[in-house]
Symmetry: C2
Subunit: 404 residues, 2 copies
Amino acid sequence: MFHINENYQKMPGSYLFADIGRKVREFSAANPDKEVIRLGIGDVTLPLAPAVVKEMSQAAEDMGTPEGFKGYPDYEGYEFLRRAIKENDFDPRGVEVGLDEIFVNDGAKSDSADLGEIFSKDCKVAVCDPVYPVYVNSHALAGRAGDYLPEKGEWSNLIYMPCTEANGFVPDLPGETPDLIYLCYPNNPTGGAITREALQRWVDYALKNKACILYDAAYEAYITDPSLPHTIYECEGAKECAIELRSFSKNAGFTGVRLGYSVVPKELKCGDVSLNTLWMKHQEFTFNGVSYPVQRAGAAVYSPEGKDQTAAQVAYYLKNAKAIKEGLEAAGYTVYGAENSPYAWLKVPAGMTSWQFFDKLLTEAAVVGTPGSGFGPHGEGFFRLTGFGTYKNTLAAIERIQKM
Amino acid sequence: MFHINENYQKMPGSYLFADIGRKVREFSAANPDKEVIRLGIGDVTLPLAPAVVKEMSQAAEDMGTPEGFKGYPDYEGYEFLRRAIKENDFDPRGVEVGLDEIFVNDGAKSDSADLGEIFSKDCKVAVCDPVYPVYVNSHALAGRAGDYLPEKGEWSNLIYMPCTEANGFVPDLPGETPDLIYLCYPNNPTGGAITREALQRWVDYALKNKACILYDAAYEAYITDPSLPHTIYECEGAKECAIELRSFSKNAGFTGVRLGYSVVPKELKCGDVSLNTLWMKHQEFTFNGVSYPVQRAGAAVYSPEGKDQTAAQVAYYLKNAKAIKEGLEAAGYTVYGAENSPYAWLKVPAGMTSWQFFDKLLTEAAVVGTPGSGFGPHGEGFFRLTGFGTYKNTLAAIERIQKM
């Protein structure tokens, strides 16, 4: 008689953004006259850049010809895309990443969830709090998180690293030594950034404790401060202790196209075993590569036209984020982030929980945001709004909130 | 200090098809004058059908417009595709599958590997021998397979169900009772088919023992015998005991496009818990859906033109398989399969191992096939050739083998 993975029964709810989606659908069904503005799920709204569309469409056409047809892709991604990644995302920053250290995936969420599989079951995991839920959920399902403690809103076996106003949303080094450390900068959800010096301290800490950092740099395109690091490999020694996750979702609007990549350095080892070798095996054993037209679309992001067009998209979303920050500050809110990030992280009015503020915003202003507590206990009291809407809707949402 | 998943160290080699790829690359590099014909990896060669190309290209164009842009896809796949699947793959066979029982994925290999994650770690797994390696590998990495025993070529904790000439490549019910049972028909690699009566026996067995069948029907489009079942849900009670895996790779040539789906019925339960609910959670927690243009391409397979065009592709590959079978039989080989399957399964000459035959075929005829032992101990003595080459190359390969 078969049994299920009991860790599923421990999960306190569904996936945060699925929950929000359901709540919004219910509200819309009950209030068909209200035009809901969605600034909750971090989904983009601008159409794909012309250079990307042209290439993806051409790749589809090529697949219809004997000369242009492509069968099974390489497990690690086509070389043309890995080369474009290397030459644009790393070489110009003086960072050496080998073509065989880049693994193309169908979006960073997949690897965020799957990278845990190459680690031992007894690894102790440290996460920022608040945090992108996928890291926590995947370790909870794999049994590394222990039990969910509803009264604390925490898992019994995770190390939570609070990111608060007091520490500028960059956690202090943890008291208990972790084996795996998740960091994400520019941060989702707080919108905070990390300096090179602060990141170097984490790298030094990981090297000293033989921990592995999983560095989520999905939002690096939003960095406006030239002093901030774009990749963890700008820090000395990072290739010996860090995996980096990247996404095409936010810099090029690929949320519906599905493309990302991970860097797993050869120097990153457990004893004699390189994690690069393990991850290559993981991809061979469980994955069959990414759609060819999608990879061609990804390469087009790095063409001269693609770079200009996607940079303009990022600038547009940053303008939205800035408008949210300034508009809400004018209405008396305290707002963080929104400078090197598309996310504004605002303090909810005193006396309310973040889910209460979610409900208030939805019912009174028909604006959807994300309650901070959905990202972890220290997210309570905060609320995330994204700059990924249209400019028009963003201004309308700000106005509605100001009148609330 | 972090440690790795030690199950990776137990793996006896790399992924079979990655190994073959490397061997062929080495041979080609050493023999640049020899034109290698690849009938090994089950990869298709015909260009995508015009109806598919048109739709994928149009979807890419749509993504470049404000009206047509799509962000994050539904975790379970767009309803337009799930509806086309339901109305074409199940309704006409009198099989009731709900839209919410269909989960679109980025190719059946992903779900073949991942479905194990919703089951308990102590589930006992039964696989056919020989078998598509992904099922075994994924459970080995998850720790369910025990230890690899090199002298036997087996894992210590799996139940192997021999598929032999004697049983017509349909296994007998196992002596030890399994919790999870993998069946694949039409079969990869033997090319064998299963009758409705034989499949019903497996369903009855699973119901009686509360086992779950994972039924891989990736090759159902190749069924030519009208009496054979196209889906396990043609069997009574199957929705209470079986998950079905489907792929667009072989019926529509999507190996490079990456699309498949799984059916997880609501009636399939462990106690009160429906596996359908668990799998939906799995997809929400760890996956972000399939590329929109890829899903549009998938829907085009079910259009009137798409059906005609892809049926012609399947007929082409079946013609190749038949030519291999007849050509090799004329040369004195015993050949199975190749009737309801694109795969010919031939006996290697007496006194040779299947890897020896692989080397002989590669060096003497520059033809690539797949050694049967790569699929499991009972694959030894057999060799897989695929009908997925071009007709011209297939005839050339047959001629070369005949002269060998």
